[in-house]
Symmetry: C2
Subunit: 302 residues, 2 copies
Amino acid sequence: MRIAIVGAGALGLYYGALLQRSGEDVHFLLRRDYDAITTQGLRVFSVNGDFTLPHVHGYRDPAEIGTVDLVLVGLKTFANGSFSELIGPLAGDSTQILTLQNGLGNEEALAELFGEQRIIGGVAFLCSNRGEPGEVHHLGEGRIVLGEYRLCDRERVEHLAAVFSKTGVDCRVTDDLKRSRWEKLVWNIPFNGLCALLQQPVNILLAHDACRKLVREIMLEVIAGANAQGLTRPIAEGYADTMLKFTDDMGEYKPSMQIDREEGRQMEIAAILRAPLAYGRQQGIDMPRVEMLATLLEQVTR
Amino acid sequence: MRIAIVGAGALGLYYGALLQRSGEDVHFLLRRDYDAITTQGLRVFSVNGDFTLPHVHGYRDPAEIGTVDLVLVGLKTFANGSFSELIGPLAGDSTQILTLQNGLGNEEALAELFGEQRIIGGVAFLCSNRGEPGEVHHLGEGRIVLGEYRLCDRERVEHLAAVFSKTGVDCRVTDDLKRSRWEKLVWNIPFNGLCALLQQPVNILLAHDACRKLVREIMLEVIAGANAQGLTRPIAEGYADTMLKFTDDMGEYKPSMQIDREEGRQMEIAAILRAPLAYGRQQGIDMPRVEMLATLLEQVTR
């Protein structure tokens, strides 16, 4: 499968490397890592075992890649304004576009530009960080849930899941992409938001009862917002406790938004917090703590 | 009137200076400012006109002061554990104790130690900051509302109000001290809390719609908490808008809790946020945003 990775950060580099290692024909659109990767290759430090890809196809311009079978989109959501410029040259008649980005609204934006029938959404439960140029660090997890934006060709998505499974990634297909997106938000909203605001990793938050309670309350607000969206089946409140326990095992993990703030990058407040708030409000669900968190995050970057 | 100032910070120094200037016999218990004030006096930089008191009675030990007619308590509330040690030596049979401290729970703690009949509460609406040792900066406002902790001798409080009025301070007496305390909390909770958390002065908060809305929502939670406390008359929701407009005129003002955080001091989270939350909860009122703010403030000092 001829694959282009657009948005080759911690997520794009990691999955792109796995896909190349398992035999796919992978082409990375690069910026910061261009020189390092095209001269020295890509090094993956992974809890599943380190490996190096000495020869990697790296590009600065999507036109040099040309059309592909699959575009894997790992861009930060605040770069969604560049979809047309970055993905347009890659999209032929049968190109599928898979977004593994955070938050809500990405499939919609891609569908608007490239047609809804070719859009596949994926929710990646991945702990990874960028390292030095040419390096990516995989700290844990990695499973992917894939789903079509508009259900039309289940077989196509099953095939794509098989491609990911072949790399060793736990990949399953859902008929309710929206539910999977909201499930991830149950984790992403409190931990990305609070860790970025307080500049503390997840274990510091969870070590203090009042803060752990706040995380849980935020999760319950997100679950209420999710369950108002007409999901195939509701997310149980117990999912919050499952996520808390799951996070207890992560140690000193810094979510991406915390790292974005530390490194002076923009934070994905719009996709991860404001979009879910708007979807909730459309269904009459207020999420006061989520809204307060969004407002505080916006305010610290003033 | 023989008066001891215990807790000679921005508030204690300012009112103590006004009382001495108007002819009262004022004795300051000092720590940081002891050397500066006992050798060079006390300088007041005030929007109402600067003045200097060249000779000020300063002490390091309350036993040197002996008993007084009035103890004015301006301590940070996290120092309330020192009430006995600091105020005990000053309290004779007829000594009145006036607390102008922030938040809730101070009269209760003083009453427990010294008897409820001698406790007077005061709510000071004052914008002031400490400057260099021996200096205090009065940036605006300054009015005081006085009330007895347990109503028993209105005349005594009227007399005290007259003493303050003689200094030029707008001072009135209330029969509902609790209501005045909560009125001040309507301002104190959002502005002290958010400015300290975000490390931004009030004008930066109010310049952005989402944050201004958050301030107002927090105010409405506090008003709901207040109105569950059996006040003589409820605080109207419009009070929130009055306070917002009032704060618009303050410019780049930093509330005391923000300065405490900047200077690495403890913050008055217990008295200003946690105590009102507990009083609200006793009456079945949840204040989710106030609770989130308290939790975030506690967490940033971990």
